[in-house]
Symmetry: none
Subunit: 571 residues, 2 copies
């Protein structure tokens, strides 16, 4: 890399250097390094920027088992903005109150350059655009972008919407025109590839209706996910050619029904699309949307000629992926390309042997470039780089001996079902304990909860929950009982009752989310139970974790950590 | 389809008719049906046969968490032969006794036309081929095919094997020549695409060494999974051209590290490869091998010009996929293309409305063509059309008054936090209750759980959970207590204790998953708690749901529904 260092590099080029090294890495031939690196550098200076449009919060939430709370959506939006995603589709304001609240709340967050978009359909057939509730809900969202979805397929216009082909063009045009007065309009051409097959000239007419009315982006949607890459490339190129006289850019929106969503998205980019719509981890209806993790990694690290996220590093992709899984309360997919726990795991004896001799030729990219890591031992679920990444936030990364101890403890806990991605407060306490800087503010002696239904017939009226706790603060013993709406609520109430006199700051703390997952689902309710609790005070929110075969014990551990974190934080 | 029926069809053409209909189906335009179908028929008569090489039992078993017993391997081999897979790679006889036993036992099974292959590496550098233990283990497997893997990449030959480039060619040639005396040799060119990038002429030389020595197939392996489709197509075409004078055919072997394994395999087929290697469900090391389910479905149902499995139907693919998951003791992947439980599930209200109007245009293939089925999910985004579609399965869709009541009840329950998409069994019971066809098999009177930690210091040793329940079956009262690993486990145990005498079929039922989610996360542990329980017996699995502010009560409701569903199911 010497020659590269001798060059005078601009700040932007320096940012890209991580990417250059990664790319050189994939070549795997050290002698060509300098050539490739400098060649790549000049190439990147001419590279095309591909914008990333995330719809995890809208299309992703259509996935089976996915349901985001308002806070979940706000937290995910912040993370997406942090990595530099260009657009975030926040929701469908007409469909529910939660999405309306999201657009209001998200304006209070700092999302940097990232633009929020509200999603909605063309106006109803018998209403003027300015009288249509959907149109007005979109405008009321007060977002810088609005994503308008319209019908491409002639059959859908006539049979599903029940309008003539001419009327459908008017729906698209008038809706886009109305919305363009309020925000930048991204037009999503639903079923574009199927519609184009059925009636090519009409499909193109729908794009022109949107473009003439002021849409700045035309996003071609493979809504059913049934298209093949060669077809996506061909049709995208035709659409660009047909719209050459309009001031519009093209996006691509793929679904994974043929396991070709990534290939289709890349094919569209090669055919000139400059915006890719998708979701983190590919969550979404049926087989999911295209996984933006794979799109980003392929565009930045595998293909040449493209820049994403303004040239930023992809090193937080693995953490982002896991954060979204945890927030959606979904299992991680260990075989997930680029960011999965198994993506750089080596099992076969032959391979592991060779890896020790020539590590880099057995991995298609440097795992670090996406924030992931190599794993040789199957039992080892996490590893050093993960810990280093987490610990960096806690300013202890320079202490190698401490890091070794932390790593060993994390591996031990992960084998018991702990995951710290969504429990940074518990991780912080763990580091303090190992570093010797932890002081417990109270010592739990025992607790008991009783919960049930007193002789009712299932109407819930006589359901009860009580908790009794005994704990020590300094030399003083506290024995308190409390009722609650459930056993965890009762425990929380009893804990506060005991501690509030000594620690009045707890009055400002409250629990805002509670999640439970069976870690090994092979044994049903007898398997290990992982509880995540999210707490907040007037300044911030924090996550804690507890794991036990007993859900009450797991909840208790997460509760104790939540309170201890608050007390440590306040000194 | 009238014109097609008027033609005189051969037996083979009749088999293909299902495929023709499926293809017509994807077009979705009824007026063009006859044209497309007859066009497609003549096309299929000239279609190219692509052979399927399954390595689930060898490369698939390298996947994390995958371990097959001898019986597992034999059972999977029989299923693969049943659907008409052309080659089955059974194992690596040098590596373990189980694989040696497999090759002995599998000869006793009737696998029809399917050929078994044994897998091994080129001879060791200091041994003659006929003295090499690996070579002799391959011959001793007595299989009709042998798959020989050799090094393509110059760097691997010199640095990993420690031989000169010339010696590596001799290893390949002499090994292939020796094995070709005993079986048909398939040569797997390891790291072919990486090797070709590093040293194109040498990579081609390794192929020629195998071909000259009698290998009948050259399978190009993207061992690291790092290649892009355009590169796979280009390099496959070059290799074919360079080997034009040899009597060999080409195979492709892809891994999914860039989420492009399916696209890469299809690209190689388009470039002339006529054998595809992969695994069922894409199990395999790291991100897995290419999923043969997707390869088969795309080649047979989506692309034109190819025949697989001798033109057989793909209707057993869904069952095969689930059989392999069960045998490997892996969770089904619900979003899996073509065969996943969610692959034809519809959630968004807008879509569901449209599906009822124009079902076929919302699915890229007929789910039946791969043995899958359409599912309508009931969720927070649902409306009346969702309920109508779901209820169709319960044969009550014609009863408008009943539908109104069901809809009103679903809306009421959804507002309280219920979500039925993952709880079809609870939904079934709900319809029965409203329709008046529900009879409770037992009447819960009261229950109580006690859980806690008896005077310990958080080491979990003294954690306990107990449950007491009182219920009525007919005129008889039952009062039972049980201990468990957690409160839900204790409740489940007490419930069985009370019911097992009266309902012995419950002995076959067990809980397999348990999930908890706070529905409105604004109020922490005092908010509503949604519990989903997945249960199974020897025949099927079913989901139930319970919602309450109290997690114990929510769990109890889901448990009661799980047991009631089982008892209703059994009449």
């Amino acid at each position: 890399m010497k020659k590269v260092q001798e060059l005078t590099l601009s700040a932007h080029q320096l940012i890209l250097l991580g990417q250059i090294v990664s790319d050189h890495f994939t070549a795997g031939i050290s002698d060509e390094g300098v050539f490739l690196a400098s060649n790549r550098r000049s190439h990147l200076m001419n590279s095309k920027s591909i914008l990333i449009y995330d719809t995890t919060l809208r299309d992703g939430s259509q996935g089976e088992g996915v349901s985001f709370s308002l806070l979940d959506k706000l937290n995910i939006a912040e993370r997406l903005a942090e990595i530099g995603v260009d657009f975030i589709e926040g929701g469908y304001p007409l469909s529910n109150e939660k999405d309306v609240a999201f657009f209001k709340e998200v304006r209070k967050r700092d999302l940097g350059e990232t633009k929020i978009s509200a999603f909605g359909m063309t106006r109803r057939k018998r209403l003027k655009a300015d009288q249509d509730p959907g149109m007005n809900a979109l405008v009321a969202a007060e977002t810088p972008c609005i994503t308008l979805v319209g019908k491409t397929w002639d059959y859908h216009a006539t049979e599903v919407l029940g309008v003539t082909l001419e009327e459908n063009l008017a729906l698209i045009g008038e809706s886009a025109e109305f919305l363009a007065k309020h925000a930048m309009v991204i037009y999503d051409a639903e079923h574009f590839f199927d519609g184009f097959r059925a009636n090519p000239p009409y499909a193109i007419e729908t794009l022109k209706a949107a473009a003439s009315a002021g849409a700045k982006w035309l996003s071609l949607c493979d809504t059913n996910g049934g298209s093949l890459p060669e077809r996506v490339a061909e049709v995208t190129a035709i659409a660009r050619q047909e719209l050459a006289d309009y001031d519009v850019k093209f996006g691509i929106h793929c679904h994974n029904d043929c396991e070709l969503a990534v290939a289709n998205s890349l094919a569209a980019v090669d055919a000139g699309a400059t915006q890719v719509q998708g979701t983190i981890n590919g969550i979404g209806e049926r087989c999911g949307n295209v996984d933006l993790i794979s799109v980003l990694s392929n565009l930045a690290l595998k293909k040449t000629g493209y820049t994403v996220l303004g040239g930023r590093s992809l090193q937080s992709l693995t953490e982002l992926s896991r954060f979204v899984y945890e927030t959606a309360n979904l299992q991680w997919q260990s075989s997930q390309p680029f960011v999965g726990q198994s993506a750089f795991a080596h099992k076969g004896g032959m391979h592991v042997h060779a890896i020790n001799k020539a590590a880099k030729t057995y991995e298609h990219i440097d795992p670090v470039s996406v924030g992931n890591e190599r794993r040789i031992l199957v039992s080892e679920l996490s590893g050093r780089s993960n810990i280093v990444a987490l610990a960096t936030k806690h300013h202890i990364a320079d202490d190698n001996a401490l890091m070794d101890k932390v790593l060993a403890e994390v591996v031990r806990l992960e084998n018991r079902g702990y995951q710290f991605e969504n429990a940074a407060a518990s991780f912080d306490l763990l580091i303090k304990r190992i570093a010797g800087s932890y002081t417990s503010h109270f010592e739990p002696i025992k607790y008991r909860v009783v919960a049930g239904d007193r002789d009712s017939h299932g109407d819930g009226q006589s359901v009860f929950a009580e908790a009794i706790i005994k704990l020590k603060v300094g030399d003083k013993l506290w024995f308190e009982a409390a009722e609650g709406k459930g056993p965890v609520n009762a425990l929380d109430a009893a804990l506060r009752k005991a501690l509030l006199d000594v620690y009045p700051s707890l009055a400002k703390m409250r629990l805002i989310d509670y999640k439970v997952r069976v870690v090994d689902s092979g044994a049903g309710t007898a398997a290990s139970t992982r509880v995540n609790i999210e707490s907040c005070d007037e300044n911030e929110s924090w996550g804690t974790i507890g794991v036990s075969e007993n859900i009450i014990e797991a909840s208790w551990r997460a509760l104790v950590d939540a309170v201890e974190y608050k007390l440590h934080k306040n000194g």
